[in-house]
Point group: D3
Chain length 107, copies 6
């Protein structure tokens, strides 16, 4: 499914041991990333913004990696997302995300 | 400045009584909403997403109103933003934002 | 569906205008509240705890009302939930939820 | 005291260097986990839910370990708690907790 | 007890109906606001900062009112607290608190 | 600038690659830590409190280290800050910060 990379190894366990949960998540994920107007790329940038604004290092990294691999997002593009995080969520969330951004683009 | 409507009446006090803070915020706001790659509209949709994902009713309403007045955002467009909020932030944040969306588009 | 009362009016709009989202949420909701071991009542008390620990007034009230109407939860039962909120989330979340609890049981 | 394992090494320092704080926490902890109606097990499952819904890896792990050691909580039981986290708090909190659950039950 | 005004009416119910919880909170409150080095005023300003940084309108207002009534905090003093909130927690938390500050000092 | 140590390596990248953002942050930082009434030390203690109350390990450590190096903050002083965190934000945030405090003062 779209963005499968994001969910990581935990999702494997869910699929094997809790197929009812797996199916519900897959259904939800499909509906979420099939917007009526916005394209997938914009929605993924939004997902980066939400993860970063919650200071969620793991999700921010997964989402940035996924944006890079799925539609070749550039560093400047992600930084434009993080600019909004700086204004709305403060310096600690911003700097933490900038560090992750640097990690991703220096690897 | 861009998105001035968002800041509301509190910003008037700041301007009059604490001009140093006002100037710093204005400078920051300018830099934030002058992305290198993303356009202003995408950045504003991101700001809606962040406000909604934090269950912040006041900021979500301000940001949706601002998106409607500044570039005529449609209900479907905002709902595509809220889809990502549903997946990443859960039902309570999502439903709260849907209620605000309905308010804005029925006014 | 289970706990439908919780979702409130926003859910009506979703059902009418965004049936794809409605269906995904219904599917998820079903799976969530069909635990393998824990009963529905314990899961609903957990939902109260989560809402209260996030200081989410609207969701806390909806969840308490739903617990009262669906399985006749008592004030002491909900207070036992809020005790854990006090320890893990601090006084402001706790007192806010106590006020809601009082509202619900005095109405 | 109940759930002492949860507090970890920080609590040792508090006990030695800040006995006034230690005593107040001990008193609070006692009162919290002596519910009038709910049993200790239900309250501990609630504590897992709150930690997981806040994406707090450390507290989630401590609480799951404590539930396993104190009343032999099963993987399915904890997953029933996490189902509610999925609905109310979104995928990132859920997956993070599922990873911890897997760690605990594979150790 | 110190800062009793902060807790509001919910605290009355606790005192009457759940005296065990009341006593534990009172004990904790006493210990918290009896710092070894910092004075009560500094600790109360810190409590304002925490409430404001969590966008908690009710707690922010209670804490500001309590700071004004207990040691005559000035508007500038509270604004100096909110400056730190602006940097660390972003514009929405800051503006919400500025609005409350204005309410308190115009009443 | 004041508190530069806090921002860490991410700030270097910003300075080199996004000088517009760097300048806006520098301007904001200057204004924030130039309170009209409160001294820098009180403002930095407030910054510790905010970081700790959000369970932000990285920011809490940076802020404590900065308080120690910039004005020789003592363990008791920081603990007086963390007392308020205990009451307002709960045990998990408190214990996490106590662990960091111990790390800093044992290094």
């Amino acid at each position: 499914m779209k963005g499968e990379v994001f969910f990581g190894k935990g999702m494997g366990t869910i699929k094997d041991e809790y197929p009812d949960i797996y199916e519900a998540i897959t259904g939800l994920n499909e509906v979420v990333y099939t917007g009526h107007v916005l394209d997938y790329k914009t929605q993924k940038l939004i997902a980066i913004a939400i993860a970063a604004s919650h200071s969620d290092k793991r999700a921010t990294k997964k989402q940035i990696l996924s944006a890079v691999s799925e539609f070749n997002a550039s560093k400047d593009e992600v930084m434009d997302v993080l600019r909004v995080v700086l204004l709305t969520s403060g310096m600690p969330s911003f700097i933490k995300s900038v560090n992750i951004l640097n990690e991703v683009f220096n690897e």
